[in-house]
């Protein structure tokens, strides 16, 4: 009997067979494991610092999804460029479903159209929608005008308090003033509650933003009032405020100008993986505890399947594309 590497040939053949079998079993197991999504932790990116609305909502949802999927859904904050860093990270990521991100839409579309960075939103894998923030127009309580037509005709012309000439508030302000015929006199640079301090000091009159958190507390107090909500249904937390549709401007209602927390996956993510993630996300969003916790922070849950999410993004793209010249013109006018 021949001896190969010190092992008799028969035994060597057996050894080779066993090793081959082990390799095959390993490959099979690995293939099975790959098919069984998920089998390791999922990273959920948030393009903002910890503590904001989208971050808190992400943590609440990720917690429930972890229970459902049997793996940890880990929230990771990668702030930068008003959420663009997270979009970049996902748009270049591996299409395996292990990296997803909550993104603020349609603001990311505006940012991409104004300053292209090569992100193709049509190729993104859309998992669904985590939260929605409805915008409202608010002012100081003693501001004498209440409707778009009164404000448009007011003398002196109203000034618009803004954080800057980018972001979703700027998009809303641009489209709203254009559609409602309100003169464009922006005063920029206000952060958070500074807007309300500016309004009380008489530096600017109008402001639009999500009616949530401390803004919600303020508009329910004696110093401020909500003029209208950019929606076609009354906002539960500010029931006395009319909707913009009620005031005859449905074109900027119907949640057109809401801030959507969409959940995206890298381009090319297989449909079955998107569906698993979407089912888990929507299951979490249907949990009464989650709904209550999100609601308490001035946001709402509005469930979408991957197909519906994709269609919603298409719709947002249309609105932004239609208005991008207005946004550009308003930016130039402000400068």
């Amino acid at each position: 009997m021949r001896v190969i590497f010190g092992v008799k040939s028969l035994r060597f053949t057996r050894l080779l067979t066993v090793m081959l079998a082990m390799v095959l079993v390993g490959m099979f197991a690995s293939a099975c494991a790959e098919e069984e999504f998920p089998n390791r932790d999922i990273e959920w990116f948030v393009g903002f610092n910890a503590g904001g609305g989208f971050d808190v909502a992400s943590r609440i949802i990720a917690d429930k999804m972890s229970d459902d999927l049997g793996v940890d859904v880990v929230v990771r904050n990668i702030p930068g460029g008003g959420g663009r860093r997270a979009v970049q990270e996902i748009s270049r990521g591996e299409p395996d479903g292990y990296s997803i991100s909550i993104v603020n839409m349609p603001n990311q579309i505006t940012a991409e159209l104004l300053d292209p960075e090569g992100v193709d939103f049509n190729s993104i894998g859309w998992v669904g929608r985590a939260v929605i923030q409805t915008y409202g127009m608010y002012t100081a309580a003693d501001y004498p005008y209440n409707t778009p037509s009164e404000i448009a005709a007011s003398v002196p012309e109203p000034r618009y308090c803004l954080t800057g000439l980018s972001g979703h508030s700027f998009l809303v302000a641009s489209i709203a003033t254009e559609e409602l015929g309100i003169p464009w006199n922006p005063v920029t640079g206000y952060k958070g509650s500074e807007i309300r301090a500016g309004q009380l000091r008489g530096e600017c009159e109008l402001a639009s933003g999500p009616i949530a958190g401390d803004t919600l507390t303020a508009v329910n107090g004696p110093e401020f009032k909500v003029l209208w909500m950019f929606s076609d249904e009354r906002f539960e937390q500010v029931p006395d405020a009319p909707t913009i549709s009620e005031l005859g401007h449905a074109s900027v209602g119907a949640a057109t100008l809401a801030n959507n927390g969409m959940v995206m996956a890298p381009p090319g993510t297989p449909d079955n993986v998107l569906n698993i993630l979407s089912t888990s996300l929507n299951k979490a969003l249907a949990d009464p505890e989650v709904i209550e916790a999100i609601h308490a922070r001035g946001m709402a849950v509005s469930i979408l399947t991957p197909q519906e999410a994709s269609k919603a993004v298409e719709g947002m793209f249309g609105i932004v594309e239609e208005n991008i010249d207005v946004v550009r013109a308003k930016s130039v006018a402000a400068n």
Partner: protein
């Protein structure tokens, strides 16, 4: 406002709050005692680690450090003739001679007691003024804020006690760094050079860690040895400590004057503890019937120095909490802590987050009382900390810096930025440029741009908005007066007061 005080006092006695204050106090005392480190480096190093904490607890830690570092700094000033912080320089004039006479314990007792009383005085003044802060906030519009920032920048430059041209250059460099990234008012990307990292501009945490902690470390490492270079008797008796603590009350005039000078100087951006320290010491000497005793181990000298450098704490908090205008390095880091914890100085803080305001005030007071007890109990033993060789301190501080910087955003470029800031900061220090002016320029640069553009937007483009409001006119007068006085001093240096430095 005072309802929130009751709640805050209740919260302060919770175990977690006591733990946070003790942590801040312990770090503050140790970093105060080791010369060159000080409160700014201590706060800078701890800042990233508080990420994710309850903001109130984080504020207790920072208040603990703020209230204690300059008290800790008196220990090596008295026992080793090496001031722990720059605000303890005048303490060496009388503290060290007293220690050489074998009365180190008495000097430590005087310093600890004067520090505690100075802090209490300034905090009482701050508490009395806080209800007015909201009125001030409503009275200060964008043009007034712009001029206030210019006053602050000028004050920081003039107070840098180094070459004024270098101070201005450092402040200008800070403003230029603040321009990087998306403009806060126009939304345009500036000086990003195609880098995604620079979209949001330069982050305060890596910049401050690099400029304050790491560059200081490079300076000490390049020198080697231990930070404190001299050694004297460190034996201090308990009897002496207690007699010193009580002896403070024999100098009520000096104590009150020092506390007032400290509080007022603290409220002026850029002036800070060091200026308060010199002003108080020189004015006490000037007003004394026995000025010849100053510098010979005189108890009044220690009281004047230590009451003022700790009384600055109450004053310096006022512009920071009300307008978000930081007056010194500690306040820059406190602003960084506000950003990290989503707190907006000004109206938001004074209306919605009074718990934070009271946490800072109570934290400073509690930490100061604890420090006074610790220094009285273990001052001599603690002084030995400043004899630890740099080669042991440097790696510890460096590793802590890098971990902290990375922890905030999980971005390795933040670590690179801290390293770059350290190298640039080291070069600037060697060339005599004041780092604090640069960092305050960085923080105030964005605010200045924002308030300038806002003012023009509010007025519809009319520049008259800058000189048509009473507050603006007063601030312009202060600016003209400050610049005029500095030109006068430059032209007639002989008539400028030099007593403090003598």
């Amino acid at each position: 406002m005072f309802d929130a005080l009751g709640l805050a006092i209740g919260q302060m006695f919770e175990p977690a709050s006591i733990g946070a204050i003790c942590l801040g106090m312990a770090v503050g005392v140790v970093f105060g005692i080791i010369p060159g480190l000080g409160s700014v480096i201590a706060m800078t190093l701890l800042l990233p680690f508080t990420f994710g904490w309850d903001p109130t607890l984080a504020m207790y830690v920072f208040a603990g450090i703020m209230g204690t570092a300059s008290t800790g700094g008196a220990v090596p000033a008295i026992l080793l003739n090496t001031p722990g912080t720059i605000a303890n320089v005048c303490t060496t004039f009388d503290g060290y001679p007293m220690a050489q006479r074998g009365e180190g314990g008495r000097a430590l007792g005087l310093a600890a007691s004067a520090s505690g009383l100075g802090t209490l005085f300034s905090i009482l003044v701050l508490t009395a003024l806080l209800p007015l802060a909201k009125l001030m906030l409503m009275a200060f519009g964008a043009p007034d804020i712009f001029w206030l920032i210019i006053v602050g920048l000028l004050a920081v430059t003039f107070a840098s006690q180094q070459n004024m041209a270098k101070g201005l250059a450092a402040g200008g460099l800070g403003i230029l760094i603040a321009l990087i990234g998306f403009s806060p008012v126009f939304g345009e990307l500036r000086f990003a050079f195609g880098s995604e990292y620079l979209w949001d501009g330069i982050e305060i945490v890596p910049l401050a860690v690099g400029f304050f902690a790491l560059s200081e470390l490079l300076v000490y490492t390049s020198r080697g040895g231990s930070i404190a270079q001299s050694r004297s008797t460190m034996e201090v008796g308990a009897k002496q400590l207690l007699s010193g603590a009580v002896e403070v009350f024999k100098y009520p005039g000096i104590l009150l004057r020092g506390s007032i000078i400290g509080t007022v100087t603290g409220a002026i951006p850029g002036a800070g503890g060091a200026v308060a320290n010199f002003l108080s010491y020189s004015s006490a000497k000037k007003a004394s019937k026995t000025p010849e005793l100053f510098g010979t181990g005189y108890a009044g000298g220690i009281v004047a120095s230590e009451a003022a450098n700790d009384a600055k704490d109450g004053g310096i908090l006022l512009p920071t909490l009300t307008f978000g205008i930081p007056g010194n390095g500690e306040m820059v880091i406190l602003m960084g802590a506000f950003v990290l914890h989503g707190i907006q100085p000004g109206r938001d803080l004074l209306v919605n987050r009074l718990d934070i305001v009271w946490a800072i005030i109570l934290g400073v007071v509690a930490a100061q009382i604890l420090t006074t007890i610790v220094i009285l109990g273990a001052g001599g033993w603690l002084a030995k900390l400043s004899l630890v060789p740099v080669r042991y301190i440097a790696p510890f501080v460096a590793v802590l810096s890098f971990i902290g910087v990375y922890a905030v955003r999980s971005n390795i470029w933040d670590v690179m930025l801290a390293v770059m800031a350290a190298i640039i900061g080291f070069g600037l220090r060697k060339a005599g440029f004041p780092i604090i002016t640069l960092v305050i320029g960085f923080v105030l640069g964005e605010l200045a741009e924002k308030s300038f553009v806002q003012s023009l937007q509010i007025s519809g483009g009319s520049y008259s908005v800058f000189y048509s409001r009473p507050v603006s006119i007063i601030l312009i007068a202060i600016i003209i007066g400050t610049v005029g006085w500095s030109i006068y001093r430059a032209l007639y240096p002989a008539s400028a007061p030099q007593e403090a430095a003598e």
